[in-house]
Symmetry: none
Subunit: 227 residues, 2 copies
């Protein structure tokens, strides 16, 4: 996603702030939308579905806290990051702000450079959510290597390390036969020497936990995972 496609809704009742901050954000290539109070914030939020909302707390008509609560109620904006724009020292606003569903806050005054890097950090958060990490999906099984978690259908299966690694290896290429020596190399590491039956025992455990039908033995060669 390019900066041009990223929409930032900036809401503040001081025109100067809108001007300066808006200018800096535009300069970075973001698509900036501005509003002057809470009512506008809610209206513009609904209309534009911005990726990031920067909300001043103290505003006429409707303050930032209330606006934030209303914005959060809109399911279209559930992935939107909302951050408050608050004068240093207005501590109460932070607490109230988080209750209202804000993700962060930015203190005024702030240097343009710092603001930009803060905005980038917030948007990076959004990006991370989108990017899926090391996840293997096969049939109805999802293997999440980052979380060390297996989900089969609806149930979560907990596997000890060696079993997890073995399954992950076999499932990384369903259908492919992995030779016994390759399995030893990749799951046990080629410096460790274990007896010949160790793999079998682990396969057995997996068959018990994941399902017999998923693991095929190729006699004299190795094993494969089938869907």
């Amino acid at each position: 996603m390019k900066n041009k496609d990223i929409k930032i809704l900036l809401v503040d009742d001081e025109p100067d702030i809108l001007e300066i901050v808006g200018y800096n954000l535009s300069n970075e290539g973001y698509h900036v939308i501005t509003g002057a109070n809470g009512v506008e914030a809610v209206k513009l939020g609904k209309k534009h579905k911005p990726h990031l909302v920067i909300l001043d707390v103290m505003m006429p008509e409707m303050d930032g806290i209330e606006a934030c609560e209303l914005l959060r109620k809109n399911p279209d904006l559930s992935d939107t990051i909302i951050t408050f724009f608050t004068a240093r020292g207005e501590d109460y606003s932070q607490v109230a702000g988080f209750d209202a569903g804000a993700d962060d806050y930015i203190t005024k005054p702030i240097k343009p450079k710092v603001l930009i890097s803060k905005v980038k950090a917030l948007l990076r958060r959004l990006k991370e959510k989108e990017e899926s990490s090391e996840i293997i999906k096969v049939g109805n099984i999802i293997i999440n290597r980052e979380e060390y978690k297996i989900v089969k259908g609806k149930e979560e299966i907990v596997l000890p390390r060696k079993e997890f690694e073995l399954l992950s290896l076999l499932a990384s290429k369903p259908g492919k036969v992995f030779k016994r020596e390759d399995i030893l190399d990749r799951v046990w590491g080629n410096e460790v020497v274990v007896g010949g039956r160790t793999i079998d025992v682990h396969i057995r455990k997996l068959r018990e936990k994941i399902g017999d039908e998923s693991f095929k033995t190729i006699k004299g060669v190795g094993y494969k995972f089938v869907i």
Copy 2:
């Protein structure tokens, strides 16, 4: 940011050191700038705005400590990491160095491999600084890194530093398993060696204070924070 874009200012009065260390750093792809004394360090620092400065302590003209103090006064270099390069045993220099605003120190002699990994660790710190937004929200817990404050529900929880860092690391990616070695790297720093049970003890404290259910152990791997 690619290595090519990372500028390292290396300052030492011994040409051999500049040669060897500089070679190793260049080899990793870093953009290396070298200087022979404190005066040059300050001049080159101002000019190039390096991301990392490696400063020998004992140098003619102006020593590393003084150079460090001067570099620190430059607001452009506020994000720059400064580390001293000191012969093993020159203990006083470490103390004085930190007073002068240094972030770390590297002892001579050092093997190229160790040096590189140290530099990487330092640069990782820089990256984290840039990236980490100061507030992490997970479940009903708000971690405010800027104020070193934890709020769980309505109550504020005070955590000592290591516990705080550990929690904030784990909570930075709920669900993700952090390997023990990664935790050591990122909370303790990879140069510090602590006993095997240290992490456990801190986890235990967190479990007491935050809630047992939030910290899951993945045996043989590490820990994860779950909501």
